[in-house]
Symmetry: C2
Subunit: 215 residues, 2 copies
């Protein structure tokens, strides 16, 4: 580098720069965990100098909070986008929900790394905990409702305890397949993961989800 030469730069809007910094932080955490997301590394990846971070975020932890919120928001947005609302049959809605949970971009090599990297930050920061609870329980609640509606639509009136058990098990199966698929992407052929999910959640609930998908 030439000495005494100040680096050229372009001015950007607040949203743009914040977005770049958040994206950079997420990339770094996904690749190397929280320890890789140093202020200097984030700035370098975002194409700016470290000082700029403190111009847009009061502290590094603030940036990480925003990054986590952005991550969770993108996950739920992606999920909703794939679910394709407006399906009349409750069983088909549940099936689509499962497929969406086990299809890219939900299943992604970096997603599980991000999820793991944030766990400890989430457990210690109250703000992150709030974000976590909101989005996590939203997912779980949505699944609860879908299962209840799907069972009701075929005339089954499972007790609340049975519904709770169904929701826990289906959620576990989705989570487990999501983890396997995300961390071992090459272990599954195209479309195998959602097919497994639909078939097996059908088994758990006693519903033919696969058939309901063909509409």
């Amino acid at each position: 580098m030439a000495d005494g030469v100040r680096r050229k730069f372009r001015r950007e809007g607040e949203a743009q720069r914040q977005g770049d910094l958040i994206a950079a932080a997420l990339e770094l955490i996904a690749e190397g965990g929280p320890q890789a997301a140093t202020v200097r590394a984030i700035a370098a990846r975002a194409g700016v100098t470290p000082g700029l971070i403190r111009h847009y975020f009061h502290t590094k932890e603030d940036l990480l909070c925003a990054a986590y919120a952005s991550f969770m928001q993108r996950m739920t947005d992606d999920h909703r986008a794939t679910v394709a609302d407006g399906v009349a049959d409750p069983v088909a809605r549940l099936a689509r929900f499962v497929v969406a949970s086990l299809t890219p971009p939900m299943v992604d090599a970096r997603a599980v790394g991000l999820w793991a990297g944030f766990i400890h930050l989430v457990q210690h920061d109250p703000v992150m905990r709030a974000v976590h609870h909101k989005t996590y329980h939203a997912f779980r609640f949505e699944l609860d409702v879908l299962i209840a509606e799907a069972l009701a639509s075929v005339g089954r009136g499972d007790s609340p305890e049975e519904l709770r058990r169904h929701a826990i098990s289906c959620n576990a199966l989705i989570d487990g397949l999501w983890m396997e698929g995300s961390s071992l992407p090459d272990a599954f052929s195209d479309g195998e993961l959602p097919r497994l999910g639909v078939a097996n959640i059908g088994l758990l609930l006693g519903l033919d989800l696969a058939a309901a998908l063909e509409d």
Copy 2:
């Protein structure tokens, strides 16, 4: 602290001190992730001074490798201890395997924190990768065999592709329940988790695992 007074200490055997240091490192990672496991923090928790770490481990990464190996070894040991070998009926063996996977000490609040904390270290360090592959695939392979034997024992000759799908799904269900139970310990009543696992894996495979347990 009095000035110029050197700290008193007791000599311990190599195994004892290494064990203390490893235990301290695991505690810290479980609580606060890899970033919390600094050399100084580990030493303090183990009741020694930082320099001692380098007397027993060539580098900090060596200590973390040993800690990960110890963690995985303890998990598989605990698992095997609960499985209670020597059961004749293959279906009962599978059921016991599932129960063991979803019972303390396998299900533990700190276990999932540790697992998450090590993920990125494992992905970057070849030695850790080796440890991971060895123990992880041992678990998965054991499950594969148990499922095949259980199905064969009731006269079902599922094709290799079906067996593979069964193993993936059962593994996913166990993993998911393990994660839910470990990260939300208060969300489940006593014995509920293994009961859910046994019942639902029975559904996935078309076997009555619960009945096989009562022997």
